[in-house]
């Protein structure tokens, strides 16, 4: 074998380790969790206000009303309002700035989410909030109904539901039929 042959053999690159590493990296990047886990809020449809033909006896519920204090202004950033994202084919989203709501728990007006949590917690711990369960006869915490007035957003209702769950209300209903209101 000549010196030229030896030189050519050493120049051969073994691709196998590189392919192995690339393959492992691909598996790694696919398997790690990029997306943020979503959680859920269980919602109970209002059995006493729906369109079922059966009659349901009304049960005492705590009313939580959400009114709009300040409607807020949509901020599209550098995008034109109501423009479409060519990549997704969906409308460009906006951020709503300056949106404020006011809650009414019974007759009490509340202006912050923290205060709402405190008030709901106080009510949930009161003896007067216990009602008899029609099926078992045992005492249970009354349910609550969230009534979102025109101009409220999903964020407002979701946070309210979150606060109610945190206070201990397991049965949260949603009042409906208030519609979009005047534009």
């Amino acid at each position: 074998m000549s010196a030229i042959d030896d030189a050519q053999e050493e120049a051969k690159a073994d691709m196998t380790p590189m392919i192995d590493v690339v393959f492992l990296m691909i598996i790694f990047f696919i398997c790690i969790e990029f997306k943020v886990l979503e959680s859920k809020l269980n919602a109970f449809l209002p059995t006493d206000k729906g369109s079922q033909s059966t009659v349901v006896e009304p049960e005492e519920q705590l009313s939580i009303k959400i009114h709009v204090e300040s409607k807020g202004t949509p901020d599209f950033g550098k995008k034109a309002p109501n423009s479409v994202n060519p990549g997704t084919g969906r409308p460009n989203r906006f951020r709503l700035r300056g949106h404020k709501v006011r809650w009414e728990v019974g007759p009490t007006p509340i202006y912050t989410l923290e205060a709402l949590r405190e008030e709901l917690g106080r009510i949930a711990n009161a003896d007067a909030s216990q009602i008899p369960d029609k099926k078992t006869g045992k005492m249970k915490l009354m349910g609550c109904v969230i009534e979102a007035y025109p101009g409220t957003y999903y964020e407002d209702v979701a946070k309210t539901n979150d606060a109610a769950n945190d206070a201990g209300f397991e049965e949260v209903n949603f009042g409906g039929g208030l519609g979009p209101g005047k534009k």
Partner: protein, 179 residues
């Protein structure tokens, strides 16, 4: 054999390993691709402060996406556009189709439920509504109203929230606890 001929022979590349790898990759991607992701639109959900993550969501749960302008998207297809469609007939039809197809395929089930002393057949499986945090509530409320129609009877409605508000970057308390 001269040197020139030997050099030409050694430059030939063996394609077999590369083809093997490509096939392996193809098989891998086909097997692991998460088809359920196509049901999820790119939305910013409200942040859940206290709700626990849905670690094992029901596989067959239908998912409705509601965009900021009230457009309803199901499995990447726009099913209702409030700017175009009058009334809520298309939402009702969509829910009826989901129910019909699900029951026919066996992915959804019915159950008996006592409503006001009368046994009524309702959907056993929940339906998930994913709406952008800045979607006006009445669009979501209308879907819930349609869900309660006797011919649809999706009585378990779930509202999607996120552990992190991707708009503000604020995370759920369960994620920041202990930091």
């Amino acid at each position: 054999m001269n040197i020139e001929k030997m050099v030409k022979e050694e430059l030939e590349m063996d394609m077999t390993p590369m083809i093997d790898c490509v096939f392996l990759l193809m098989i891998f991607f086909v097997l692991v691709i998460d088809l359920s992701q196509k049901n999820l639109e790119d939305l910013i959900l409200p942040r859940a402060e206290f709700q626990e993550p849905d670690d094992e969501p029901p596989e067959n749960r239908p998912i409705l996406n509601v965009l900021q302008n009230g457009t309803v998207v199901y499995q990447s297809v726009v099913k209702y556009d409030p700017l175009v469609d009058q009334g809520y007939g298309k939402i009702r039809q969509l829910l009826m189709d989901i129910r019909e197809v699900g029951l026919a395929n066996g992915t959804l089930e019915l159950m008996d439920k006592d409503i006001g002393g009368k046994m009524t057949q309702v959907m056993k499986d929940p339906i998930l509504i994913r709406a952008d945090k800045w979607t006006e509530w009445h669009y979501v409320g209308e879907i819930m109203k349609q869900c309660s129609q006797p011919q649809i009877a999706f009585w378990k409605v779930q509202l999607a929230l996120s552990e992190e508000d991707k708009e503000t970057g604020i995370k759920n308390a369960s994620l920041t606890r202990g930091q």
